[in-house]
């Protein structure tokens, strides 16, 4: 297995690097087309992500939810599921966390822990339904999770407007006791909004690695993901594993939502559309080869691009949306596996030439 994963990693790291390069190239071309100087823009982008301790802190803050949504997508992928519903599970995670933060009165630390757990459970619950429908009724999880994203959005808006407030469009600030804000950490980075969530994210990454590759549960999850028929033959409970996998994925997504709410925003607002962090998780996971370490690395890259991108807009006046285009291009290149395709083409050509030579 070590040998296999090594080969896998080598080729996928190469693929990822090439894809990132090509993606940045596409972004550069976009900038040239609109009359900007891409080199200046990219320098501004990468510089501003690390310029001051404050920026580094903010970059880490941006990376935090991306790691968690990336893990959510990645764990599902590893077990044969496509969780496109991370966005919705994220929202329910936020909602559950804000409810606990506002409606319960608990001592500091414990309040935050309960709120984080509530977020995780909220995400798990929201992922349970598509898992159950897939396992029991064979409904493809992609469509159900897309639908549940919208339901989550409207549910959150409804709850904020009708229950958490009196018709307002955002809740009041959460109490200090439930916050993930950590003064010492924040001051280390010049009062930036970096918060305890980053540690949750790192622990989650280790947990995913340990779970999938070191435990009997992980063995089953992977086996069911690769081949449900063989798993059933071997006596595993396929339905249970599908549901479990979706729920763990939902836990990661819910944690992302809770940590964003309790650490960064501090309130839940009525949203017209998604934050996009859940969809970003798809890009993060793909680029990271669906492995925990890869996800942490690619989340870092996407975080740098996102945070640096918003500064680039101020510094170089290049609209930050060009970064979305870079993301899109990277997804295309990774998904189409350009590197493998080129390699196959060349191999085929060599063979064809051999044929003509005779």
């Amino acid at each position: 297995m070590q040998v296999l994963s090594k080969i896998n990693k080598q080729s996928s790291i190469f693929t990822s690097l090439v894809s990132v390069f090509l993606g940045l190239l596409v972004g550069g071309v976009m900038m040239i087309l609109a009359g900007y100087n891409p080199i200046q823009a990219y320098i501004a982008l990468f510089q501003s992500a690390f310029l001051q301790p404050f920026d580094i802190g903010e970059t880490i803050r941006t990376i935090t939810p991306l790691i968690l949504t990336g893990l959510a997508v990645g764990l599902a992928f590893r077990t044969g599921l496509f969780n496109i519903g991370v966005e919705g599970q994220f929202i329910i995670g936020q909602l559950a966390a804000v409810i606990v933060a506002l409606k319960l009165d608990l001592p500091p630390v414990i309040h935050a822990i309960v709120a984080v757990i509530a977020g995780a459970l909220g995400g798990a619950l929201w992922a349970f339904l598509p898992g159950y429908l897939k396992a029991k009724r064979g409904v493809h999880e992609v469509i159900t999770t897309i639908m549940l994203n919208f339901i989550a959005l409207y549910l959150s808006n409804l709850t904020v407007r009708e229950w958490l407030t009196d018709g307002a469009d955002k809740t009041k600030e959460i109490p200090e006791s439930a916050s993930l804000h950590w003064n010492m950490l924040s001051q280390l980075f010049d009062s930036s909004r970096v918060h305890f969530g980053i540690f949750i994210a790192i622990v989650a990454a280790f947990f995913m690695y340990y779970l999938l590759w070191k435990t009997t549960t992980g063995y089953q999850l992977r086996a069911v993901g690769y081949n449900p028929h063989a798993s059933e033959y071997a006596g595993m409970n396929v339905s249970r594993n599908i549901v479990l996998s979706m729920m763990i994925s939902g836990v990661f997504a819910g944690l992302a939502g809770a940590s964003e709410l309790l650490g960064t925003a501090g309130y839940q607002a009525i949203q017209a559309s998604y934050t996009g962090i859940g969809f970003d998780g798809i890009a993060v996971s793909l680029l990271g080869g669906n492995s925990p370490l890869g996800i942490v690395l690619s989340a870092s890259l996407f975080g740098i691009l996102t945070y640096g991108g918003s500064n680039m807009e101020y510094v170089a006046a290049v609209p930050r949306e060009v970064i979305r285009v870079v993301f899109a291009a990277i997804i295309f290149f990774v998904a189409a596996n350009i590197v493998r395709w080129v390699a196959q083409r060349r191999k085929k050509k060599v063979i064809d030439k051999g044929g003509e030579g005779k």
Partner: protein
Amino acid sequence: MINSLTDILATTILYMTPLLLTAMGGLFSERSGVVNIGLEGLMTIGAFTAVITTLETHNPWLGLIAAMIAGMLFSIPHAVASITFKADQVVSGVAINFLALGVAVYLVKALYEGAGQTPDVQEVLRKMPIPGLEKIPVIGPALFDVFPTTYLAFIIVFIGYFVLYRTPFGMRLRAVGEHPQAAETMGVNVYRMRYTGVIISGALAGLGGASLSIAIGSQFSESTIAGQGFIALAALIFGKWHPFGALGASAFFGFAVALALKGQLIGLTNYVPSEALSMLPYILTILALAGFVGRAEAPAAIGKPFETGGR
């Protein structure tokens, strides 16, 4: 009361139009065996292009045509990735959504000095009453005094049905979505059919986006489409991958939107919050997929890459 009913019916027709056009697009792609999650993005680029073109040329009809062409162009990366490169079709569709929204908003900012939305289009498409028919009580104003894109949508449903079920092209397209190997052995070019299906979906979704931005609305911003593409996808599935099914589902989903918007006219929102009505299409689609509201059966080869000579 009669006025409220007319109003709700008219709103239904208004909001079903973009859904119907886009769902018909999705139908061509998915019937050929290519999942199209990217409908949202294709609508976005259509909406954007229609506004920009109309602003420049002052001709909304050119805007419509440009939107179709832009939709076709943006569907090509999806076709290349999922047909030629055999990439995961869902992933590729997600990337289209990223790409389209990114490009559109980027260009809006680049063109209008950092503004988040385009200026208003003055020469939007106007409603076209059909003389005589528009006078029919209740349904007249709702059905026969509508935007040209609405008439177009209905015409496309019938043409779509005719093409898919009565012509060799349609039969081959459906065969490719059910059993591409069989179609290939009969001399059908699977790749070409699938490319065609995806590109048609781009054209119609582009048109659907345009119907939102230069008929129902009059400008483009990041939130112009806001999930309409995904509702269209839901309508396609709820309509069981059939033109008339898509028509019925779009009408029903449009009705849900109308109730959410106009519910206070008949006092509905006193009992049901508008969010609950907005959720309805999605809940129904899940129920349909789960087999509680009639089983939805997807084309057999949907989502599966095709390899020549493979089995």
